[in-house]
Subunit: 242 residues, 2 copies
DNA sequence: GCAAAAGTGTTTCCCGTACACCCATGC
DNA sequence: GCATGGGTGTACGGGAAACACTTTTGC
């Protein structure tokens, strides 16, 4: 390990300091592929580092935790500061605390992951130092952030299969086709519309509205909404679906 | 919020400090009940607090993180210091960071949960300030530790149903009856021995040894072992089954 | 009418549960 | 032999996957 500056020893031997980071997922329409038309893709925002270490590398949004905000509040604030967005779902991912994960300081990062609405993410900030990347094709990141992204992706994909979080990529109401496209984008494979419909309708939290969507050149689909039947505990008490 | 000492403001407005805690599970033979004979029970060690806040209350074992040890190492060390035991399974549970979870200092606790071998736990330290309690009947604890225990219990019970961690309550080799008793103790219900056997044998990580156990007044059961077929990712890269 | 997606019905297969039954040991 | 748990066989039922089919819209 390199010891770059003069007062290193003070910092090195100090107790670990604390930070939060966020992995923020959204969905974009897939590149129009000839073979597999219109399968959506997961995207996430990264920030370019302007200070050492890892200057100019892309990294996850993150920062320190204020003395008077909870971890979740800090993640929420951080997410909003970098993307101007409010997540529809936010959950703690993991605390990363390997000794050598940052070259000089010892930092423990508590990482959150979030889902943001697709159409809102489309009009989100994208400046010099914030940019969105396809989740399956992120560049080499600062620190251990590539591992973190991989783990968040794994968690998202697993959780989508046994829970009902997927609708958080969409707005308040949505058609079953839209919801299915979300599942297809996250899982990366086609899903049978007929069976998908039955599974979803079995969910009991999914309630049909009395509205339909006209304008398509086919039978108008019904709009659905997710009722707030409090989900069974899959995360600790403090966390919830916002 | 009470401000107890002179230099409080410095501490209150300082960034959150970091600690780890551990929820350590083991299994004890159930109290011999007439109706339901011999269903095992989950037990966990607690430590009596000797300093404010919450003097004399029971609490989870825990402490600070050294500058040169990983979170997992810190949990491991802490566990060993309080129980003289080495866990057979150790996994991060959650980072608890509500602002008011400790009355004066702001502390973020990264909590690990562990499984220790039943017969080793039996001969573990149990002094004035360390004592084991039935997991379903813990007293009122310091801080938010009751919530933490509840969440760890929930996680243990859920994970036992979809993974193969349960054998970590036992030694290297074990009979299927012993393994079944572990499941019964954790889940709190009887399990059909015939179906249990088939499910386990399907696991493919479970390998039969060529030994059997004699001495029972019945057909001698075979001993099994868990092969190290690296489990599919259910925890981040850093974590593993020790 | 025709295309296209919404929505329904039906069959098949797999897997978990229930439970009857046989096997090997100690006494 | 008999009791006791180890271990096997088998039938039932619910749910997921595959896919044929009907419905409702725009053009």
């Amino acid at each position: 390990m390199v010891l770059p500056t003069a007062n290193v020893s003070e910092r090195l031997y100090a107790p670990p300091s604390l930070a939060i980071s966020t992995v923020i997922f959204s969905i974009r329409n897939g590149t129009v592929d000839q073979d597999e038309p219109g399968l959506g893709e997961l995207w996430l925002p990264l920030v370019r580092r302007t200070r050492p270490p890892y200057v100019d590398r892309w990294a996850l949004p993150g920062g320190p935790i204020a003395w008077d905000e909870s971890l979740e509040d800090a993640a929420h604030r951080n997410l909003h500061e970098t993307t101007q967005l409010r997540p529809r779902y936010l959950e703690q991912l993991y605390a990363f605390g390997a000794v050598e994960r940052s070259p000089d300081l010892r930092v423990v990062s508590i990482v959150y992951w979030a889902l943001v609405q697709a159409d809102e993410a489309a009009k989100a900030t994208e400046g010099d130092n914030v940019s969105w990347f396809a989740a399956d094709d992120v560049p080499r990141l600062a620190f251990d952030h590539n591992e973190i992204v991989e783990y968040a992706l794994w968690r998202l994909r697993t959780k989508v299969e046994y829970s009902t979080i997927a609708h958080n990529f969409l707005g308040e109401t949505f058609t079953l086709a839209q919801l299915r496209e979300v599942y297809e984008a996250v899982l990366g494979r086609r899903i049978d519309p007929a069976n998908f419909r039955r599974q979803m309708r079995a969910s009991k939290d999914l309630v049909a509205t009395d509205q339909t969507v006209t304008g398509g050149k086919h039978r108008p689909p019904r709009l659905y909404r997710f009722g707030e039947t409090e989900a069974p505990q899959t995360t600790p008490p403090s966390s919830s679906t916002l």
